[in-house]
């Protein structure tokens, strides 16, 4: 179990892995995630289930190499097994048939998690528009896969090296003008991007679902590390979310909470590189 069956580089820092996880594949739904621990020394980190195949018993993860844990994962190869994988976790996306087009927006590595949402929305009979954005052409992936489950695909790059130049927020405003009514929008990506998106959709009156990615550990509601403020309530993203009404989320607080272990994260990377350096002192 938990064997890496396939590994690909989607862009310089973004990798795809297909894992043999039949229990998770059997139950996985759009919007859910899993937690893995690469080896005995590793921390537990959450990743979205970017795709799943119930027959093959596989799930797909797409991750950006950020710090120690994702770099360790990135060094694992086909045939290696991940020590611990648990899921599916979180509440699935609430998919329904809407009376107007819906938009799914993926920013950066967030392009991956919008795929299962788009597919589920399409299967429910919706007109689905996808907007994906990244800094440049190199960071765009899964264009064809998304095209297959959407009616319209808009690609944005900050530098204009591919698709239209500009941010995903601009594209959404244009789409709203073009279609007149948008029933609902999913925005998944870095927190600043999701915050910007909610600021744009609020005056347009578009219901906006965001997928929060706070610090997590157990993923079962036991530790409270993942708490986010939604309206006047404290929610645990791992069991109450990760999807929430973006217009109610306190993004400022959520962004600050992401930095709780900033110093330790730097030390973890330094330690990892030091070890890799073959200095023989460990």
């Amino acid at each position: 179990m938990n064997e890496i069956l396939k590994k690909e580089s989607l862009s310089p820092a973004v990798k795809l892995m297909v894992l043999n996880c039949p229990f998770i594949a059997e139950k996985a739904q759009a919007g859910q995630f899993f937690i893995l621990r690469a080896n005995e020394l590793a921390e537990r980190i959450p990743l979205t289930i970017a795709d799943y195949d119930r027959e093959q018993g596989t799930i797909t993860a797409i991750f950006q190499e950020m710090g120690a844990s994702t770099k360790i994962l990135g060094q694992m190869e086909v045939g290696d097994s991940i020590l611990d994988v648990v899921g599916p976790l979180g509440v699935p996306s609430e998919i329904e048939k809407f009376d107007a087009p819906v938009i799914v927006v993926g920013g950066g590595v967030g392009i991956a998690p919008i795929y299962p949402v788009a597919r589920a929305l399409k299967e429910a009979g919706n007109e689905v528009i996808a907007v994906i954005g990244a800094r440049n052409r190199e960071l765009i992936f899964w264009e064809d896969k998304l095209r297959a489950v959407t009616d319209e695909l808009v690609i944005c790059t900050d530098d204009g090296s591919y698709g239209q130049k500009g941010f995903v927020t601009n594209a959404v405003v244009d789409l709203h003008t073009k279609h007149g009514k948008i029933a609902c929008l999913w925005a998944i990506g870095p927190m600043p991007m999701m915050r910007a998106m909610t600021n744009v959709t609020r005056p347009l009156g578009i219901k906006t679902i965001v997928s929060m990615n706070p610090l997590m550990m157990d993923g079962t509601g036991m530790c409270g590390a993942c708490r986010v403020q939604v309206g006047n309530e404290t929610k645990f993203a791992c069991v109450d979310g990760p999807e929430f009404d973006g217009h109610l989320v306190d993004f400022d607080l959520a962004l600050k909470r992401l930095s709780i272990y900033k110093n330790e994260e730097k030390r973890a990377i330094a330690h990892m590189e030091h070890q890799g350096g073959g200095c023989g002192c460990h």
Binding site: V86, T220, C223, S259
Partner: protein, 472 residues
Amino acid sequence: MSLKQRADRQAMPCQDAQVRRHNFDEVALGYTEEQAVTEATRCIQCKNPRCKAGCPVEVLIPEFIQAVAERNFAEAARLLKERNALPAICGRVCPQETQCEEKCILGIKGEPVAIGRLERFVADWEMAQPEVKSEAPAAAPKTGYKMAVIGAGPAGLTCAADLAKLGHDVTLFEALHVAGGVLMYGIPEFRLPKAIVAKEIGLLQELGVDIQVNMVAGKTILVRELLQKGYDAVFLGTGAGLPRFMGIPGENLCGVFSANEFLTRTNLMCGYQFPRLNTPVSVGRRVAILGAGNVAMDAARTALRLGAEEVTIVYRRSAKEMPARAEEIEHAHEEGVKFQLLTNPVEIVGDENGWVQSMTCLRYELGEPDASGRRSPVPIPGSEFTIDVDTVIVAIGTDPNPLVTKTTPGLDLNRRGNIVADDDGCTSVPGVFAGGDIVTGAATVILAMGAGKKAAQAMDAYVRNKAAATAQ
């Protein structure tokens, strides 16, 4: 037996407080053989041993103590294990002063027999002697019944062990990546070394229990599916693991942690070995712990060991009402933990980066007794004051986790979300049994074990009766 010339209660040898507050090694070092024998001879072998009635699993207390007095430690171990599968753990963590030792006759005029310490001594002695190790009781012939146990805390571990001994095929499903429950993720290494818990879990595997970690009931597997997929009965021992918060402003600031998060990062993930191990844990210079139970003491003493300079327990009642084990409070005092009693926070205040800076508190006094019989704390108007802190750890209790209960239709819950189960662990769903903290709310290791034991018996009876009924 004569009452004169009885030795004093043997003190527990401990690491020096000033040394131990900087390490994670076990605090209590355990009796030597001589101390154990001396302590055992203090027991007057009552004809009607009151101590036994104080123990939730009725350990054969005078009997095993007699064997210790006779230096027959192997026999003592055998006697202990007749009622208690995890003596090395209970000897360390039971609140003896409110259970067996509270009832000990010697306690009336002087100090009770140190039953817990003797229990620990015997269990440790046995673990150290592989050659004399009393062989695991021969498992009964295979029954062919399949049993599922969900949650590998003390309740689930005990239930699984007893079911396996009865000859059933047992699968134990655990959400985390290791079995043990609170014994692994909550209670710190310096109080309960994880190697001891791991050893007990190893015995379970020897009994043939199939332990499947990383399986979240309610997500990865559903109770209803287990019953459909050929399991004859299911035990729910999922504990009370959902942390409560106070609901005051500032509680989501950076630097405010639940005790569960803080302790799990440190214990389960070995955060104190960061960065060799990869999970970070952080603690500030001045730490406030909210609450005064075992969890609060563990968090306070862990904070010291992680390098905090000043750690303060903030509790709204007085010293008398603190729910923690007496020994833990004493150890915390010795290590330099401070206590702000009759005090409760009303707000946590942060700086411009969203980090905790201080805490505004009110002073309390004790008023009339409340429903629990304890005098209830009443805030003193105008008594507001501020304490400077940079870390706040909330240890005011836990609630049952709803992942399993919400996904199991027909399961009766009480107002608090605990599963309703009778003394044998039977729930409102046929074939589904429950015990431990998920039924009682946060309680003790030994009570959870007792519940797991009873449920194993009831599950055994259930599958046999059902088979008999269908055979007719």
